[in-house]
Every structure is written in C-alpha cells, then in structure tokens.
C-alpha cells in the first residue's frame, strides 16, 4: 500500500474524478433501492403485515390480479381448515373500490373483508377493533390525507356508508391502494350487490344474506411444518383436497397488481447500474495502468514481483471504491430523507448495505481485470528510452 496511497494523493485530481462517478452511482443506487423498497411497500405492505403463510385461490385463477379474480366457497374454506399442519384458515374477501369521504376527498380503497375475531385482524395504532357491520379500519397512511376516527366514507356506485373506527399500525397498502379492513359479512353484502344505498349496513341485513363466498382462503400453518416453509408438495396436497391453487405469502405478492412489472424493471435498472459501475471502474484502471506502464516496468526491473504490484493496484481500487461508495450512499440517504411524504420511498439498511457491497465487489472485479495487466508488463522494457 506504500505506493498505492502515495499515488492516490499525488493523482488526486484524476482519482477524485473517478471517485465522483462512483459516488454518483452510489447515490443513484440508494435512491433506486429506496424507490424499489417504497414501491414494494406500496404494492404489498397490506399483505406483508399479515401473519399468513399461504393463500389458497380458486383453482386455475390467473396469477396477476388473482386476489380480485378468485372466488372461493365455504366448502373450499372448510376443506383447508381440515388440512394437517394448518393452524388456522380463514376466508378473506378482496376488492378494489373508489370512495369519497364526508369531507369530499376521493380515495381508492382495497376492501379486505375478514372475520373480525380471526387471525387476520390487523394491529391497530388507534381506534377499536372490527365488529359493527359498518365500521372499517383503514391504513395509517390515510390519516395524513385528512381521515380521522369517525370519518364516514361513501362507496361509489353502491352508495354504502362506512365509518372509520380504527387505523392500522403502519402502512397497509395493496397495489398502491390503501387497505380498508371490514367485516367479511359486510364485504359479502357489497360483493352480492345487496349493500344499502345511502346508509350503513345493519346486522339484520348481514344475517339475512345467503352468500357464502370469499376471494381467498388465508392460511396460517403450524410453525416449522413443511406447509409453513412453503413446501410445494404440502401446498399441492391441500390444493387437491380443497380444489384450490395455493401461493405462499411471497408468491402472492406477484398476484398484487403491477408488482411483478415494477420490481422486475427496477431490479433490471439496478443491475445495469452495477454493470456500468464495474465497466467504468475497469476502464479507468485500464487507462491508469497503461499510463503507468513504463513506471511499472521500472519497478519490475528493480525486482518488484508481479504479485506486489497487483496487490498494490487492488488496494488502490479498494480504497477508492469503499471511500466513494460510502460517501455516495451517505449522500443518497440524505437525499432520501428530503423526499416528499407522498412518494413511495423507503430507505432500509439491509438493501442499501447489500447494494453498496455489490457496487464495491463488482467495481473490484472490473479493477482486477484492468490491474491484471501488470503481470504482462515486461521488466525489460524499462531499459532504453521507449522500446
């Protein structure tokens, strides 16, 4: 490192130029990672927060938008409840609707109909649990948009009035739309088209309804069982008994609207960024090594081993990459804090650390390929002027 450090200091102009490029890539990488985590949250935070291990959809349901396409009946629900390793299974209704608050605010809502005392009941940050037919619990994010406990929401088209009785603990969104939990009975009333216009649903209406359908069966498997680990055979066994198609919680994210397209695009951009970073660093160190060709030949003639020069060159690249990636990541995190609240943006330490590590590692690979050139330098070329 003797030479590496002194050269970094001596050619600081050139190295900082390269460093700025690395730092900019790191900034971009943090912002992309934030955006990607934000979009994931926006897309599936409503599912992520559920204690569900897998969902069972009606057999043959198309994978995209499967939640709102699928319909399961009480036999399928009952069959799943009977399966081995199933701790709890509970029906869940899912549909997306437009609505308007009593303050005239237009909102989109994903209605999750659940049995109020089931394991699907969300954790609350305020208000009280589900129970009354007309009471809903909405995502905490809606609080920022002016909704309060007691706000009344009118569903478009059907005209049914629902009252906000609680807020979830943290963001609960699905397909970029805020989630509203409501009793399964109420959801069924709306799905059956029998919800009252201009009023809240009543217990009598719920009791009178003969509609035993939901969208999916939400399953919580016994801890440590094959089913809990998402074992394909275990899922298939349940599916054949119940006539359903199952997805683990993770797989079900892909069934959320737009999720797959968004994450695929973003991860592609990220990998391109890594590749560009590696190539730029490789190109820089190629030029740098060629430029030092005569100097390196002199060192080789003086008896420096190729390994010594290789180690020195790699140390130089590592110092440069680590310093400026860290700097860029710090700037990126700073910029991320300035993002407006409405942006789907979420900085998480894990993904940022991973992305930084990949940037540094791939940069080092690029640099290594360039620095490997020192092993091909002929010490004899140190003699004479230029040979």
């Amino acid at each position: 490192m003797f030479l590496a450090l002194r050269e970094l200091a001596f050619a600081r102009g050139r190295f900082s130029l390269m460093g700025v490029v690395i730092a900019l890539i790191a900034v971009l990488m943090v912002l992309l990672s934030g955006l990607s985590a934000g979009l994931v949250n926006d897309g599936v935070s409503g599912l992520k927060s559920m204690p569900v291990t897998s969902f069972a959809f009606d057999e043959g349901t198309k994978a995209d938008n499967a939640f709102s396409r699928s319909i399961v009946d009480d036999e399928q629900i009952a069959a799943w409840k009977e399966q081995p390793d199933v701790a709890t299974a509970s029906p869940m209704g899912a549909s997306i609707m437009n609505a308007e608050t009593d303050q005239g605010l237009q909102v989109d809502l994903t209605l999750f109909g659940i049995e109020p005392d089931s394991f699907l009941a969300p954790e609350l940050s305020a208000g009280s649990a589900l129970g009354a037919p007309g009471g809903i619990i909405v995502s905490e994010t809606l609080r920022g948009e002016g909704l309060e406990l007691g706000s009344v929401i009118t569903l478009d088209q059907v005209g049914t009035e629902l009252e906000v009785i609680g807020f979830t603990d943290g963001q609960a969104t699905f397909g970029h739309v805020d989630v509203a939990y409501l009793p399964l009975g109420t959801w069924q009333l709306i799905a059956a088209g029998e919800a009252p216009d201009g009023a809240a649903p009543t217990a009598e209406q719920l009791a009178a309804l003969d509609f035993e359908y939901a969208s999916v069966v939400a399953i919580e498997a016994v801890d440590g069982s094959p089913l809990a680990k998402g074992d394909a055979d275990a899922l298939a066994a349940g599916d054949s008994a119940a006539g359903t198609t199952s997805m683990t919680l993770e797989q079900s994210f892909n069934a959320s609207p737009g999720y797959q397209a968004e994450t695929l695009t973003l991860s592609m951009i990220q990998w391109f960024l890594y590749a560009i970073g590696a190539l730029v660093v490789g190109a820089f160190f190629t030029v740098w090594t060629i430029q030092r060709g005569h100097e390196l030949a002199v060192l080789r003639a003086m008896g420096a081993s190729a390994r010594y020069l290789l180690r020195d060159g790699l140390a130089q690249a590592a110092i440069l990459l680590v310093t400026f990636t860290a700097l860029g990541a710090a700037i990126g995190v700073g910029l991320g804090a300035l993002m407006p609240a409405g942006m789907p943006f979420s900085l998480e330490a894990g993904p940022i650390a991973l992305a930084s590590t990949i940037t540094i590692s791939l940069g080092l690979v690029g640099a290594a390929i360039a620095v490997l050139r020192v092993t091909r330098i002929e010490p004899i070329s140190a003699l004479g002027g230029t040979r």
Binding site: V298, A301, G303, P379, A382, L383, G385
Partner: protein, 248 residues
C-alpha cells in the same frame, strides 16, 4: 576447530563471490522469432570485477541494451553463461522461475535508467524507501533512513521533492541513490547522461565511478557520450553484437 574452518570457508566464499562481479561467457541472444530473428548479442565475453566501472559504447542497435538486459536478469540468453556475484542466472531461473529472478534483482542488482525513471508520485526519500521495502521484510522497513544515501549523491537537501520538481541531473542522482539502497553487487547503467549537459554528465559519471570504487560494485555503463569515457576504468565497444576492448 571444525567450526572455525567452516566459518572462515564461508567468509572466503562470500568474499570470493563478491569479487567475482559480473561474468559473461560466450553469451548469445537472439531476439524476435522465425524470419525476423536478430542476433542482438553474438558470443559475448565480458568480465567486470567488483570496484570497477566499465563503459560500453557503440552504434545504435549494436546490442548494448541487450547486454544490460542479459546481465540484469531481464532476458535469458539463447546460449552462454551469465554469472552474477558467482551465481549462475540460469540456475536461479530453473530453481525458482521469474519470482526468483525478481528476488535476485532486488537483492543483488542495481539499475540506473535513462533520465532516472523515477516514480512521479514519490518524493526522493520515498523513491529510496520503496526500493528498500521491495528487498526487505516488513517491519524492518520502518527504521530505514534514506538520508545518507541521498547525501552521498549530493541530494540530501531535496529529500522531499518529487521528480517533477527536480532537474534532469538531480533526477539522475536520485536514481543512482535508489539503485544503491540495497547494496547491490552489480550496477547496470543505461545511458545515464542522455538528457544532461556536459558538466552535469561529467559529475554523474564521476559519482558513479566513485560509488563503484568505494562500495566494491561491479559497474557496467552503456553510453553514447564519448566525453565521459575518461572517468571510467575501462572502455569496450559493441558492434553488431560483438564486444571489443577500446581501452584497458
């Protein structure tokens, strides 16, 4: 009794080795391949003793640099023996390959190149430190003091200057100091005065001769500059890969 004998034998061998300097016997070097083979050295014999500086002159392309390359373990001869300080370079190579040759170079050979060839990023003192570090184990490098070496070439006052801040002659002096740091047995010098005026050329060559005499180094210097020859102990001429004495 036995001990004393062994010890004195070792000493004798060491002294002898030292005295053997540089020894080339029937060395031939062919460069290029196939049709374009050039015989850069043709059956060259050369004996340089410790403590003398030998000058080699000759027209361009005669093989002077090639001679230094062969003597400096930078090129292996097509035929013939090269012995440096009593060690056969072919044996060093066959024992340890390029790594062993590099090690041999940093421990026993000193190079002075045209126009110094210093590392631009390093100060004069650091040039010497780097050369020292190449040849020594870590840990021993901290205590190394480059100033006596720099002072011996009259550059003690420019220890903290980088090559860009030095004149051609000053760079060459630092280059000489760097070549001497690891106490080489053989010093190989390629056109050290190419970029210098007359007075400075004289000074540099006097310095080289003085160092060779003082430190018992076998020195070989290639040059185009006839005015500096009086400072050297012997002069040989290289023509078409063959070496003939001019002044003994």
């Amino acid at each position: 009794m036995t001990n004393t004998t062994t010890a004195s034998t070792t000493l004798d061998t060491a002294a002898e080795t030292r005295h053997q300097g540089l020894h080339l016997q029937d060395v031939t070097l062919e460069l290029g391949d196939g049709e374009g083979t050039v015989r850069a050295l043709d059956q060259v014999n050369l004996e340089v003793n410790a403590g003398e500086l030998v000058a080699i002159i000759g027209p361009s392309g005669a093989g002077k640099s090639s001679l230094l390359a062969v003597a400096g373990a930078l090129a292996s001869p097509t035929a013939g023996d090269v012995r440096v300080l009593g060690r056969d370079l072919a044996a060093v190579r066959s024992d340890g390959g390029q790594g062993a040759l590099a090690r041999f170079r940093r421990e026993h050979l000193g190079f002075v190149f045209q126009s110094g060839n210093l590392i631009p990023a390093l100060t004069s003192a650091d040039q010497l430190r780097l050369a020292y570090r190449l040849a020594h184990r870590r840990g021993r490098t901290r205590t190394f003091d480059p100033s006596p070496f720099l002072e011996s070439v009259g550059m003690g006052h420019r220890a903290d200057s980088r090559p860009g801040q030095l004149s051609g002659g000053e760079r060459q002096r630092v280059g000489i100091a760097r070549a001497l740091v690891n106490a080489p047995g053989v010093l190989l010098v390629d056109e050290p005065t190419a970029a210098l005026d007359r007075q400075r050329s004289q000074d540099i060559v006097k310095l080289l001769a003085e160092q060779c005499h003082e430190k018992s180094i076998a020195g070989v210097m290639v040059t185009h500059d006839h005015e500096i020859l009086p400072c050297c102990d012997r002069v040989l001429e290289m023509v078409d890969g063959q070496l003939t004495p001019v002044r003994e």
